[in-house]
Symmetry: C2
Subunit: 339 residues, 2 copies
């Protein structure tokens, strides 16, 4: 393979800058100069160059060198040969108050996502990896989505999708995501649980390269202990979905009692856990694998991964943010784009 | 101290045998011959000697040597100087089908508990450590309690109590315990959350010997993200309870987002977590500290600890059960009885 061919084979990944007031800009700067990473993939930061320059000065990091505007991007996107910043010019750098929740930065974070989705759908990038956004800022800007997963599902017209978090230690996908605790039982159905089992099996097959083994968690303590607790969600909803998935040839078992589902022996015997609600999956995942897990949206026509942490407003623009999760997200995006 | 005084200073701990069809009998046999343990505490197994003998033969373990019947116990309980079996003669050994859920063994497991509670209230034992029972067997026997915690609360007339699981890695106490997922929000109140914070602070002060630092979890994903998810349980119920506890001088913070509450940095900075529901606490506890955690019922007039695992029917009477959690439970019971 010639150098030129190798550069073309390298996947081009849109990396959204996240909320300008959070740690996203710092993470993107670290990414652009991570030569171990950029030998393997080509990150294109979708954000504001002015903000990145201000953060670089504040954190003592090098400023970005290759910056293109949207018109140049239209003309040259396929010919870019190096990591770059696509300067979307949404927000003035001086208008950003680091560490503050603000409708203007929430709006900006949304614009970066919209542009990245459009680029992925147009094929000018191979995948999207997203930096952290702030849900309250998004809400303050009047954006009617609770998070990335829902934005990507809506804007790509995905008929079905779900959120999965994956790490070396543990992988969890979620039947319900960003809804209140008490709204979960009403959102569970055999069809939805089966959908998430199918999406998870397909994604893990692409990641692992072989038929994965899945575990499905119950909803109630002790998985309802055969009807003693709860409203029989295990028998009515979860077990039928597991049975239907098995009939399709998926290697899956459950519903398991949630508190013992994540024991070491099960983690070693399973490639992924299908969880009924946000914290059922994210509590063990973050306890066991914080900072190395990657968030993937399954079921989309494009590949989308994300960091597994928030905007960390308390250390925004301080130079203390670790890019490990974003690096993993970019690498997994490239892998999934290839598979 | 003379040998005789030392023997008297050793705490006498009632150890209930648990469900005869589970791993409880094997664990009790291992306990009786654990000389490292019996140098420090004196376990008295409340169970059936016939079952223990049959299990000993089946597992290739030594049979119990010192066996007293209830009449001898009444006369001599305070003068026992060695680990022993109190033979309550509830069930015929030959009637037990190992690994099966059965009303008769459920009933027996309940009788052992009743006798142990009576002994603790009478002061003939210093504390109770309970072996694993099977909730379905208990239910089949018509016992109207979902678990140990509720039996102990009712039979000791405790005005308030809660379940806490403690290990070297992590300690969690539970505001709600063995109820269905959807019943949790209706059981939360400022008074109940405050009660569990107080009970946890008091117990951890006794265990640690100093003022403990507590973390209280939210109920909803991201602790409701300031009202975006859920019905404001964090603002209406949890935050006021935390504030009230702080006014009493308790070192407590929260509500924290449940998925990040259990990160290593928080585990290192806190002595215990107050959790809103069973799996919120038991998922991270079992993922991080299975087989070494001990279950403690707080708020009782007597000391009660327990294993953190179930009856493990699949390996009952096989000789493969590890007694580590029961050993820890007995040691903690002795420590709490001294404090």
């Amino acid at each position: 393979m010639s150098n030129d061919e190798r550069r073309q084979a390298v996947k081009q990944i849109a990396v959204t800058m996240g909320d300008p007031a959070g740690i996203g800009p710092e993470l993107c700067l670290r990414l652009l100069y991570d030569t171990k990473l950029t030998e393997l993939v080509r990150p294109i930061v979708f954000g504001d160059a002015g903000v990145l320059r201000r953060v670089a000065r504040q954190c003592g990091l090098p400023e970005p060198t290759i910056v293109v505007d949207p018109r140049q991007w239209q003309q040259a996107s396929c010919k870019l040969r190096q990591p770059a910043v696509l300067d979307l010019q949404v927000i003035e750098a001086d208008a950003v108050r680091p560490g503050h929740v603000d409708a203007a930065t929430g709006r900006a974070s949304y614009c970066y996502i919209e542009a990245a989705i459009a680029a992925a759908l147009a094929g000018t990038v191979d995948a999207v990896a997203t930096g952290p956004i702030h849900k309250e800022a998004l809400h303050a800007a009047g954006i009617p989505y609770p998070g990335h997963t829902e934005i990507f599902a809506a804007q790509t017209g995905a008929a079905r999708s779900c959120m999965m978090l994956t790490s070396r230690e543990i992988t969890c996908s979620l039947v319900t995501t960003h809804i209140g605790y008490r709204d979960v039982p009403g959102q569970l159905s055999v069809a939805r649980i089966l959908e998430v089992i199918e999406l998870t099996a397909e994604a893990m097959r692409r990641i692992r390269g072989e038929l994965p083994r899945l575990i499905v968690c119950g909803l109630n303590p002790h998985a309802g202990e055969h009807g003693l607790f709860g409203d029989g969600e295990e028998e009515r909803l979860i077990a039928p979905a597991v049975d239907a998935a098995r009939r399709q040839g998926i290697d899956v078992r459950g519903p398991l009692p949630p508190d013992t589902a994540f024991l070491l022996q099960h983690r070693q015997a399973a490639d992924a856990f299908v969880c009924m609600y946000h914290d059922q999956g994210l509590i063990p995942l973050k306890a066991l694998a914080f900072d190395t897990a990657v968030n993937v949206t399954l079921g989309l026509p494009i590949v989308r991964t994300s960091v597994d942490h928030g905007t960390a407003l308390d250390i925004a623009w301080s130079g203390r943010a670790a890019a490990s999760s974003l690096v993993q997200a970019v690498l997994l995006a490239a892998r999934l784009a290839t598979a």
